[in-house]
């Protein structure tokens, strides 16, 4: 999806502010949200692509306003609601001081047996592209999850590295299977991405799933 999370190349977010001290967590609640999210992920069995897509679907003001762990909190509540672990209104009731006991847990599916590797898969075909191949990214802009960023769409580049086959986020986020496929680090020249506004001698290496690519028609 072309969401607010897809912010590579956007203007308007000001300077990069480096804070003093840089604590791992800025408040206890951030740490608890982090820990609870990891546990809930294991217990509920949501895959990482589903979880990333959960963040992308936050409304844009929430996404920008709430910060990293604030977004995790919204997503955590949402996934607990979706699986029935939390009942609608249950948390609000607690916050309003109601003394009702916590509702019992629904029957949760047994955690799936973890795959041998979280995302690497063996496929019985060779990668379509090789290092040095000129490629272009497709005009791929689904309403659902994708890891092809807007700023790299329909751009021309050169394959710099070939990685093993990985689970494909675009399908895996939507329960449509793993569709494992090779991933390529593709080098895009700054000029190709940003036109005349590009800085000299700059490039971006972007990891592209094979489905995102086609041969460069004009190379």
């Amino acid at each position: 999806m072309n969401g607010i999370h897809d912010m590579g190349g956007m203007h308007g977010f000001g300077r990069v502010e480096v804070e003093k001290g840089e604590p791992v967590f800025h408040a206890r609640w951030e740490a608890r949200v982090f820990g609870m999210s990891l546990l809930a992920g294991l217990r509920l069995g949501a895959n990482i692509d589903e979880r990333r897509h959960g963040l992308e679907r936050l409304d844009p003001v929430t996404y920008l306003r709430d910060g990293y762990y604030g977004r995790w909190l919204v997503r955590l509540e949402q996934s607990l609601l979706e699986r029935g672990v939390l009942r609608p209104g249950e948390l609000a009731g607690r916050l309003a001081g109601h003394k009702a006991a916590a509702t019992p847990l629904p029957k949760l599916p047994a955690p799936a047996r973890p795959a041998e590797h979280p995302f690497l898969r063996t496929v019985d075909r060779s990668p379509v592209f090789r290092v040095g191949d000129r490629v272009q990214t497709r005009n791929h802009q689904p309403a659902g999850h994708t890891r092809l960023a807007g700023y790299t769409r329909t751009r021309r580049g050169v394959v710099a590295r070939v990685y093993p086959a990985c689970v494909f986020p675009d399908t895996n986020a939507h329960g449509q299977g793993e569709e494992p496929q090779p991933v390529y680090a593709v080098r895009f020249e700054g000029r190709e991405l940003w036109g005349e506004s590009a800085e000299p001698r700059s490039s971006v290496y972007f990891d592209c799933f094979e489905s995102y690519l086609e041969p460069d028609a004009h190379a």
Partner: protein, 206 residues
Amino acid sequence: MSGADRESSDPRDLALRVEALEALLREKGFLDSAQVDAIVRHYEEDVGPLNGAKVVARAWTDTAYRRRLLADGTAAIAELGFGGPQGEYMVVLENTPTVHNVVVCTLCSCYPWPVLGLPPAWYKSPAYRSRIVREPRAVLREMGLELPAEVEVRVWDSSSEVRYLVLPERPAGTEKLSEDELRRLVTRDAMIGVGKVRVGSEASGG
């Protein structure tokens, strides 16, 4: 999905909300607060840029290790005992006098946890995510790193599950230092690519 039902992003309200949420989940038997404690402690105390610094210092002092590290980052990093979530496929990028690498994740905030710990706030900020790909020299300059015009800058956007670690240049004048002394020079910023390793500036948070 919407965050509209939570109207406040006031820190005090968030603290109360998260406390109530954890209590509910505990009462339901969904989680055990001790497990949460353990995860938090792990990422606050056990995992951090010191791990990455060990990798870098080893690569600076052991040519065969450096070769293995650049050829198969995951395996070479595992030799030192590091691995796990957000570090399952590691690629190490070598900075040289002519090529400077810097890492970002524009789409979320992917980061190599096992070697660098959890990312700092600026790495997760819209400013860094939006700008570093478009104007890396300007962002690095703001962060205190002026790259000479003749140096090529390569920005690596972590859009797949591959995680990148920058192998900074070993600074001149460190020929006599031990691996341990070198390790203490290596900063997290240098391993992301927004800084360089300098002699005389011991690694702190940044």
